[in-house]
């Protein structure tokens, strides 16, 4: 089988989350039993992964203070500070 890549941790809303090298933030969060890390702007509903491949933008998360990362695409790195995102912050984006 596949040799497991080396492990490390990052924090999510202050709590440590284990991850493996090359793993996405979303995969590590799901593996740790978490399902959602964003609340929608209008109805305040929880969201996590839906499409898993960067298409739906449901999984937006704040990484090291910067919002709007797609957790299903961004690879976790040792020491990252990941936190829940409120809304979908269009402000910074050109679409």
């Amino acid at each position: 089988m596949t040799t497991p890549p080396p492990g490390f941790t990052f924090t999510f809303d202050g709590e440590p989350v284990p991850a493996r090298s090359g793993q996405s933030v979303a995969a590590a969060l799901i593996a740790s039993g978490r399902r959602s890390w964003r609340h929608t702007r209008t109805e305040g509903r929880p969201r996590g992964v839906f499409c898993g491949i960067g298409v739906c933008f449901d999984c937006l998360v704040t990484v090291n203070g910067r919002p709007n990362h797609r957790a299903c695409l961004v690879e976790a790195r040792p020491g990252d500070t990941v936190s829940t995102q409120e809304g979908a912050g269009h402000d910074d984006l050109a679409c």
């Binding site: 089988m1 596949t2 793993q23 995969a27 959602s36 992964v49 960067g54 933008f57």
Partner: protein, 483 residues
């Protein structure tokens, strides 16, 4: 592989291949082997696309055709005329006097924010693939409802199970490998709920016989499900998911041939996860940006129209793989190779290998016949619209309900999805209608007592900026063909 700017100054490639799945990989490798200076541009950190999604150090145990992938990957890494730009998300492709400029933002080890890049080429081959097609239903926004592809990508690309007790639902042959993969990895699959009643093999014996390996693959998945006692139910759908912060169960219903709920045929099933998909939607924003003629495929998807050489209706733009019709990885590989060869023949004129072309054209015909049979076997009739409540979310980004879409038609007089988009905002969020475009189009067409058209779909699919790009990245401008 990636070459530094100092080593290789800004250059004009003969061919830029956009997308590195089966179609893009085989196109790029074929073109470079014919002597064309080629660049493969892909958003992923590793080549392979959706089909060969893998982890570093992956031994391919979960994959079909892994040795073929390794050969292509080896060529991609080693061929002196072939550059690979991984982590490049394409947001716009522009026509220029010399050909095309592909604008990307690059994320990698040094930056996660996306550094702007521009790559110039005489010709482009669009191989951007497809993603899961979705139908809304009550509760589909609850965390724990995933696309079937997401569950597959988590398993194959990340080694993570999406849940413990999983309902697999939707329509199409893709549900089988997803369910088989899950039980193989130790999850409990509470059932595979196939809304259709596939009968293709009876009605299309020739197409089926020509594709025996594919059928054998399907039979293998069915055997796995049988061994693990996973129920496989046809004409059955997950019509609602329950829970608040996470899924706790689903309602499953028997359907008639139009996918309306059969009275007395519903029941509740406990589960923590739903994997759902109703076929695939081709990723067509680049052909749309370039003005390529589009058409409606047999599965109701908007696709780029191509000729026998995989040429679109715009000079210098080829399209291969699922962006010009959903048909599985084998068809994508064949179309990619044909596109790569023809683009190379047209750009630097090596002598044409007629035998190879003839073989590829034959294979493509067989695979396309199989794909057409599949589309006929797994239609999506519009009875799913009766599963929706007034307050069921259709557009997940802007949280637009089925009722709001209906009001835009009934009260405001909207006759097409574009007008509904302006009145009620479905498709105006960050995903730009990728997820709700198909459903919104079907809802609006039916409310207007007609069938969806290619124009309707185009109204929800045009995206001048294909991928989000920060204002900062735009302002910074782009350098030329650097790595």
């Amino acid at each position: 592989m990636t070459t530094s700017r100092a080593e290789r100054p800004a250059a004009l490639y003969d061919i830029a291949v956009l997308g590195g799945g089966p179609a893009g990989l085989s196109a790029a490798v074929a073109a470079a082997a014919q002597g064309s200076r080629t660049v493969l541009i892909d958003a992923g950190p590793r080549p392979g696309g959706q089909y060969w999604r893998h982890r570093d150090g992956d031994d391919g145990a979960l994959h079909h055709g892994w040795s073929q992938f390794r050969r292509l990957r080896q060529e991609l890494a080693a061929h002196p005329l072939l550059d690979h730009r991984a982590g490049h998300s394409i947001w716009h492709v522009e026509r220029t006097d010399e050909g095309f400029t592909t604008h990307t933002t690059h994320t990698g080890h040094t930056s996660r924010d996306g550094i702007p890049r521009a790559l110039r080429s005489r010709t482009v081959i669009v191989a951007t693939g497809a993603y899961d097609r979705q139908l809304p239903f009550p509760g589909w926004t609850i965390p724990g409802v995933f696309t079937a592809g997401a569950v597959q990508a988590l398993l194959k690309g990340q080694g993570v199970l999406a849940g413990k007790r999983i309902a697999v639902a939707g329509t199409g042959p893709f549900l089988l490998p997803v369910a088989a993969g899950l039980v193989g990895a130790g999850a409990t699959v509470v059932g595979v709920f196939e809304a259709g009643l596939p009968t293709a093999f009876g009605r299309h014996p020739v197409a089926a016989l020509r594709n025996l390996p594919k059928l054998a693959e399907g039979a293998g998945y069915l055997r796995t499900l049988l061994k693990h006692r996973v129920p496989y139910r046809t004409r059955t759908a997950v019509i609602a998911a329950h829970g608040t912060d996470t899924v706790t169960g689903v309602t499953v219903a028997r359907l008639d041939d139009q996918w309306r709920i059969v009275a007395g045929g519903t029941r509740e099933i406990d589960c923590d996860t739903v994997a759902v998909g109703y076929g695939f939607t081709p990723q067509t924003e680049i052909p749309l940006q370039l003005g390529c003629e589009m058409m409606l495929d047999a599965d109701g998807s908007l696709i780029a129209r191509v000729d026998s050489r995989q040429r679109s209706t715009v000079d210098g733009v080829y399209v291969a793989g699922e962006a010009c019709g959903v048909g599985g990885a084998q068809l994508s590989l064949i179309e990619g190779e044909l596109a790569g060869l023809h683009a190379a023949y047209a750009s630097n004129g090596p002598s044409v290998d007629r035998g190879r072309l003839a073989r590829l054209v034959r294979q493509r015909a067989a695979q396309r016949a199989f794909a057409a049979a599949m589309h006929q076997a797994y239609p999506v009739p519009d009875g799913w619209q009766t599963w929706l409540e007034k307050d069921t979310t259709v557009c997940r980004c802007e949280e637009v309900s089925a009722g709001a879409i209906r009001e835009a038609v009934d009260d405001l007089g909207a006759t097409d999805p574009r007008a509904v988009k302006l009145y009620a905002r479905p498709g105006m969020g960050l995903c730009q209608g990728r997820v709700c475009g198909y459903a919104t189009t079907c809802l609006v067409a039916r409310a207007n007592h007609r069938q969806p058209t290619a124009d309707d779909l185009r109204g929800m699919a045009a995206r001048p900026v294909a991928q989000p790009v920060t204002l900062g990245a735009l302002a910074a401008g782009a350098d030329d063909n650097g790595s």
